[in-house]
Amino acid sequence: TQSPKQEETQFDFKAYMVNKAISVNKALDDAVSLRDPLTIHEAMRYSLLAGGKRVRPMLCIAACELVGGVQSQAMPAACAVEMIHTMSLIHDDLPCMDNDDLRRGKPTNHKVFGEDVAVLAGDSLLAFAFEYIATATTGVPSSRILNAISELAKSIGAEGLVAGQVVDITSAGVSDIGLDQLEFIHVHKTAQLLEASVVLGAILGGGDNEQVEKLRKFARCIGLLFQVVDDILDVTKSSAELGKTAGKDLVAEKATYPKLMGIEKSREFAEKLNKEAKDQLSGFDSDKAAPLFALANYIAYRQN
């Protein structure tokens, strides 16, 4: 991996990320207030406000602004995709699924609140994500809001996130997983929601079909890129460098890109995806495209 390219020298990506994360955190805090029954809402807030880089909300807002929209049009949707992301993590961490005790350095939701509340908190976040887009989005015609709701629903259901989870679960311990199946898992588990984040932003910001489809392709590429880089880091970095257990995938005998195509080919694949992603941005105003451009580089060249 090399250092980031010269394109982003004028654009301060770090400051942009920090800035957006502050706005998003504030919006999330306001959106999910403490109500009765307190425990469920505490559980929802515990995971939702636990930090995280807020990559999905940022993608949503950046895509909205790229097509000429303003942040306020995309903020409810940006919060909604983070709610969905959080609920999928809460359910994924359950003992009957991945059985994780720690998430973002804190005990997982069911460790603190119990499995029953964790399931309900996840369900509640899922439902609230839709309620929030439907009620809190302002300055956008109803038809676009409905379109966004439909996109989000598709990306997280049995054709999206859940499909990836199911194939992941059913292929655990199976030794002869092919590249097709590996890609299916990652596209559905990771890329779909990233794609929805971008597409929702583009729709709500008033993007035309062509723009929405270009950005959809951009998001698909960086979604997959994210996973390929993750797999490479898992075999090339130490646990200390990663901040999590290195080599975990190898021990768990999970299929990874380096395992299936080798480290060098995996790196080439990552380069190709990064380029393909950026190609989609070429038709847009380059200043407005800078955040997404920088984000692709950030994903490609991150070290942990």
Partner: protein, 304 residues
């Protein structure tokens, strides 16, 4: 409305609608890859004994205001999808721990706890998506569809059915009333109100439908509890005690059959009282009216 019982045949109305709803639900969840998840979803949504009370109430409320039932079918199906999702999660081992539902093994008993969680997670968004993609665009204004989605999301969420389930597990003072309202009243209210939105009802009528639907939903459950209690024989004492530990949350268990019957009569009167305000709509109110008597008397059987 003395003519109701002689001129309106709820049984035929219901049976006809039920067959249509069943067929539409069947079409709305085609089996794709990965098959297991679609089978798990279909297993609960298409369960044989399902009466389809929420969809029928939704369609009847829509027709009351002159709405086309074709406008109501997708939402009617969505109500069954989200309802099934809630029930699947409610039955889980660390929730109500129910091995069976509607006379057949519950979802997790057949597909495993992990698939059951995912089936629920997939059914919620499918419901929302189905409303957007299947409602004929010329029949319902877009802002009304947003209201329908909001209503359903709120009903299943952290202040609705999820709250009811939480209080059901938690217990505490006044838990019975709260659980009845939230777990059962909420679905009735939501079904009636969604039908009203789709049929173009005004604000006052929506409020009326709200109170009507809630009363019928709770009435239905109270009568279920009474019937269940009456069916129990002495020989089942032991089994019952075991069950008591898990669910002490019915009116009957707390107040006894007689008091529960009084509550049922009050609810019947309350629901019918709300309908008096709909007399100006003529015969359209008959289905909703006879629905109340059905909930109270169970004059015939629906389903297989």
């Amino acid at each position: 409305l003395p003519l109701v019982s002689t001129q309106f045949d709820l049984r035929t109305y219901w049976t006809t609608l039920r067959a249509e709803i069943n067929q539409k639900l069947d079409e709305a969840i085609p089996v794709k890859y990965p098959q297991q998840i679609y089978e798990a979803m279909r297993y609960s949504v298409l369960a044989k004994g399902a009466k389809r009370a929420p969809p029928v109430m939704c369609v009847a409320a829509c027709e009351l205001f002159g709405g086309n039932r074709l406008a109501a079918f997708p939402t009617a199906c969505a109500l069954e999808m989200v309802h099934a999702a809630s029930l699947i999660h409610d039955d889980l081992p660390y929730m109500d721990d129910d091995p069976s539902r509607r006379g057949q093994p519950s979802n997790h008993t057949v597909f495993g706890v992990d698939m059951a969680i995912l089936a629920g997670d997939a059914l919620f968004p499918l419901g929302f998506r189905h409303i957007v993609s299947a409602t004929p665009p010329n029949l319902v204004p877009e802002p009304q569809l947003l209201r329908v989605i909001t209503e359903i999301a709120r009903a299943v969420g952290s202040t609705g059915m999820a709250a009811g389930q939480f209080l059901d597990l938690e217990g505490g003072p006044n838990a019975v009333e709260f659980v009845q309202q939230k777990k059962y009243g909420e679905m009735g209210e939501c079904s009636a109100v969604c039908g009203g939105f789709l049929g173009g009802a005004g604000d006052d009528d929506i409020q009326r439908l709200r109170r009507y639907g809630r009363a019928v939903g709770v009435l239905y459950q109270v009568v279920d509890d009474i019937l269940e209690e009456k069916m129990k024989g002495e020989e089942r004492k032991e089994e019952e005690e075991e069950e008591e530990k898990k669910k002490g949350k019915s009116y009957v268990r707390k107040y006894g059959v007689e008091k529960a019957m009084e509550v049922a009569e009050d609810l019947r009167a309350k629901a019918k009282g709300e309908l008096d305000g709909f007399e100006k709509y003529g015969e359209g109110v008959f289905p909703l009216y006879s629905f109340v008597d059905y909930a109270a008397d169970r004059g015939f059987s629906v389903g297989d």
